[in-house]
Symmetry: C2
Subunit: 525 residues, 2 copies
Amino acid sequence: VASRTSGAPERASHLRHPRELAALKARLAEIADLGAIGALLQWDQSAMMPPAGAPARGHHAATLEKVLHERLTHPELARLLDAVEPWAAGLDPDSDDARLVRTTRRDAEKARRVPAELAAEIAEAGALGEQAWLRAREADDFSLFRDALAHHLELRHRYAACFDVEHPYDALLDDFEPGMTTARLRPLFEELRAALVPLVAAVADPDAPDTPAALRGDFPVERQRAAMVELATPIGFDERAFRLDPAPHPFAMGVALRDVRLTTRYEPGDLSPALYSVLHELGHGLYEAGAAPALDRTPLATPASLGVHESQSRLWENVIGRSRAFCGWMLPILARHFPGPLGAMDAEKLFRSVNAVRPSAIRIFADETTYNLHVVLRFELEVALMEGALAVDDLPAAWDDGMLRLLGVEVPGPAHGLLQDIHWGAGMIGYFPTYTLGNLIAAQLWERLRQDLPDVEEQLARGAFAEVLGWMREHIHRHGRKFEPAELVRRSTGTDVRVAPFLDYLRSRLDDAGLLGRTSAPSST
Amino acid sequence: VASRTSGAPERASHLRHPRELAALKARLAEIADLGAIGALLQWDQSAMMPPAGAPARGHHAATLEKVLHERLTHPELARLLDAVEPWAAGLDPDSDDARLVRTTRRDAEKARRVPAELAAEIAEAGALGEQAWLRAREADDFSLFRDALAHHLELRHRYAACFDVEHPYDALLDDFEPGMTTARLRPLFEELRAALVPLVAAVADPDAPDTPAALRGDFPVERQRAAMVELATPIGFDERAFRLDPAPHPFAMGVALRDVRLTTRYEPGDLSPALYSVLHELGHGLYEAGAAPALDRTPLATPASLGVHESQSRLWENVIGRSRAFCGWMLPILARHFPGPLGAMDAEKLFRSVNAVRPSAIRIFADETTYNLHVVLRFELEVALMEGALAVDDLPAAWDDGMLRLLGVEVPGPAHGLLQDIHWGAGMIGYFPTYTLGNLIAAQLWERLRQDLPDVEEQLARGAFAEVLGWMREHIHRHGRKFEPAELVRRSTGTDVRVAPFLDYLRSRLDDAGLLGRTSAPSST
C-alpha cells in the first residue's frame, strides 16, 4: 500500500496497486451509475414523460443531483484520492489509472469549491429563468426576462468567484469545455468573424428557402422513421443498443455504452429536419457509445467536452451528410421510400440544395457558412455582459446591431432575436462557443482523416462508413474523457484548434456547390 | 421541541411539531424520490431499454438500491425518528403524521434487520436465478433450475431468520402484503379450495377456447391503441398524466401521482389480450395516481400492498370489465373501431364469451373461476417448501399432482407447469397469494360499493364511471399506505378479508352467463 508520504514518483511506480485504488474505483463506479440514471431521467423528461409529471420530476432530479454531489464531496472519496495520488504520480502519465486519478481530483475539486447552497440557487434560478424566458419569448417582450437574466449573471459571478480564474467567463467555459479560456477563444472567434462576414456577403442567396427546397414535398411522417433507420444503420445505428424516438427538440443521450437514445423531429412537408437531425444526433450517439470498455463506469467513460461532442455530430450532419458523395449514396435510398417527391430528383441538385447559403435570424436554421457568426455574436455579448461592459438593459439593442453587422439580418423582434435559444433562459452562459469549437474540430479531424483514408470520398459514395467510424473511434471516441479536449485535439490532429481547416473546408464545399463563382452582391448587405 | 423523555402521550399531544419533524420529512421526501426513480428505471427496462443495455442497467439499479438502503438505515434518520416518536404518540392515532412516523419506523426497522450483504446476495441470486429459470423453461427441464431454487429457499430462510415471526413464510408474505400471516391465509385458501374444486368440475367447458371466441378475428395492431384509449378515457385514463405503451409482459408503474405508465400487449388476431390487460393495468394505474396529495413524497403515498393493488386491477378487468353492463357499453365503441369482427356481434354473446370457464395449465390465461386454484396450489407448495415438508426434487411431481387434483388438468411439461411463472425464478416466494387476496378484496369492495351506489349497473351500462372511481378513491386510493392492508379492508368493507363475497359474486356471474344450469359433467374430472 502506498503511503501518503512515500518518496519520489520513480519509487512509487514500482509499488503494487494500493489497496485504496479498488475502493476508489468502486465509489467512482457508483457515481458513474448515478450519472447514467440522471441521463435516463433527462431523456425520459424530454421524450416520454406525460406533461403533468414535470413538478415531480423536478424533485426527482434535484434529489439525484444532491446524492451525486454528496458522493463527489464525500470525505472518504477525498481520503482515497489522497491515498492513491502518490502512487499514481509514478505511473505512465498517459495510463488509464493516472488519468483516472487526475480527472477525479479535478471533478472532486470543482464539486468541493462550489457551496451546495450556491449550486441549489443556480439550479432553482435555472428552472425559474426557463419559465420567465418562455413567457418572454411567447410575449415577444425582453422585459419579462430581464430580471431573470440579471439574476443569472449575478449567480454566475458568484460561481466564478469560487475558482482561481483569469477571467470570470473562464469558469463558465470550463463547465462545457474543460480547460478552455476566454483568452484562447478570442483570437479564434476574431479570425472567424474576419473571414466569414465578407464570405457571407459574397455568397448568400437571399431567395434561398429556410430549408433545402429539394427535400420539401409530401413526406408522410409515419414513413420517415424507416427511411432514417435505413440510412443510419450502415453508419452505426443498431436497434439492439440504440433507440430513435420523436421529440420536439431533437437530442441524443447516452445512458450506457450499449444504451444510447436518439431523438428526431418529423415534418410532413419537409424531410430535412428528420434527415439532418438524425445524422447530427447519430454523430453524438456514436461518440457516447464509443468509449473503450475498460473505461466503463469510470469518470473517463463520457465524452471529453461539448465541443468535441459537437465535432462528431457536425461531422456526420454536415461534413459527410452534405457532401456530394453522401448525397449520391442516400438519394436512391430516400427515393425508394419517397418516390413521389424524390423519384425524379437529381443528385447534383440535391447536393446544391442542401448547401444553399442564406442569412437568417435563427441560429438553428442557419447553414454552415452563416452558422458560426450566430455563435460569434453570442460569445461577444456573453463576455461583454460578464465583464460589465454591456448592461443587461442594453442587450436587445446590442443583439440587433450585431445581427445587422455580422449577417446583414434585420431582427423582427426579441422572440426571433436574443430570446430564440433556451440557453440564457436556463442560465447556461459559456455554452454557445462549444458549437463553433465543434465545427472547427470537425473540419480539423476531417482534414487529418482524409490523409489517412485517401479514398474516403469513394467509400462514402458507396455507403461504406466503417473506416470513417473506425478512425473516429480510434482517435476520439475510445478515449472518453481521458484527455482534456485541447490535448485530445492535438493528439488526433497534430495541432491546437485552428480556424484555417474549417475555412478551407467551407470554401471548397461552396466552390464545389457552384457558389463561390457568384458575382451578384447579396441584397441583404 | 418534544424531548425523548417527555411524559404521557396526552401531554405530548399539546406540544407543537418538534423541529425534527420537518427534517425527518425532508429525508423521507428524498427517499420517496429515489423510489420513484427506481420505478422509472423498471418501467424503462421493461418497455423501452434497448436489449444490449441490460448489463449496465443491472449496475444502475443496484447502485440506486444501495443509496436507498443507506438512506433508510442512516443514523440521522434513526435519531430523528427517536426524537419525534414521543410527540407522535400523543397524536390522533389515525392522523397522517402519526401513521407516517409508525410506517417509517416499520420500514427503517425492516431495512435495519436485513444485513446489507444478505440483501445483496438475494438481489444477485434473483438475477442469476432468473437466467437459470429462463434456460430451464426454454429447455422444458426443471433440473436446470433446481439448484437456483434450492439457493433461493436457503436465502429466504436466512432472510426470515432476521425477523421475529411465527412461521418463516410470514416474513416473506410481509414484503408483499404487510401484516399478513400464514395462519390467516390457510383457512381462507382452504375455504376457497373446498368451494372451487367442485364448482370448476361442474361448470367447466372443455371446448371453450383459451381466450374469448367473440374477440378473435382481424384486429390490426396499429388500430388497437386508439380503441383502448377511447375505452380507458371515461374510466380515468388521461394522456396528460398517463402513458400507454406496448410491452411483452403488460404492467403498470407509478412514477409520480401525475405520471403513471401503463403497458399492454397487442395481438393481431385477438383483441382480448389488449382489452383485458388495459383494464387490468388501468386499475393498478388509477390506484397509483389516487393517493391524497398531502401524502405525496412521503412513505405513505404508495399503495397499501400487492393484494389491495390487485383488488383494483381485478375490479376493472373482471368485476366490471366482464359484467353484462360493461359489455353492453363497450361493444358499440369497439365495433366502431373494428366493424369487421364486431359489427354484427351481439352484446349477450360477448358477455357469455368473456365469462367462459375452461381449466388450463397456465395461470395467466385462467378464467375467474379456475384462477384462484392456480394460486392455492402455489401457496400450498411454497409453504411446504419453506417448512421442509416438500423437497425441491419432489416439486415437479407435487405440481403435476396438484394440477390434476385441483383443476383436473394434465400438465404437458415443466415449461407449462412449475416453470411457467417468473416469480420463483427471481426468488419471489410469498408473492402469489396476493393475486387471490386481490380477487377476494375486489369482490368484498364491490359488495360494499353496490350498497352505496345501488344504480351502479345502470351507470356502467352508460359508461359513467366517475362514481365508481370516486368510491375507490375515497375508500382505498387516497389512503395510500396509511393503513395496513387488513385495517384498510376492515375500514372500507366492515370486515376482514373473507371468501364468501367472492364466491357469491362468482356464482351470480356464472348464473348470469347461463353457466350454473349446466348439467353435463365436464370431461376433465
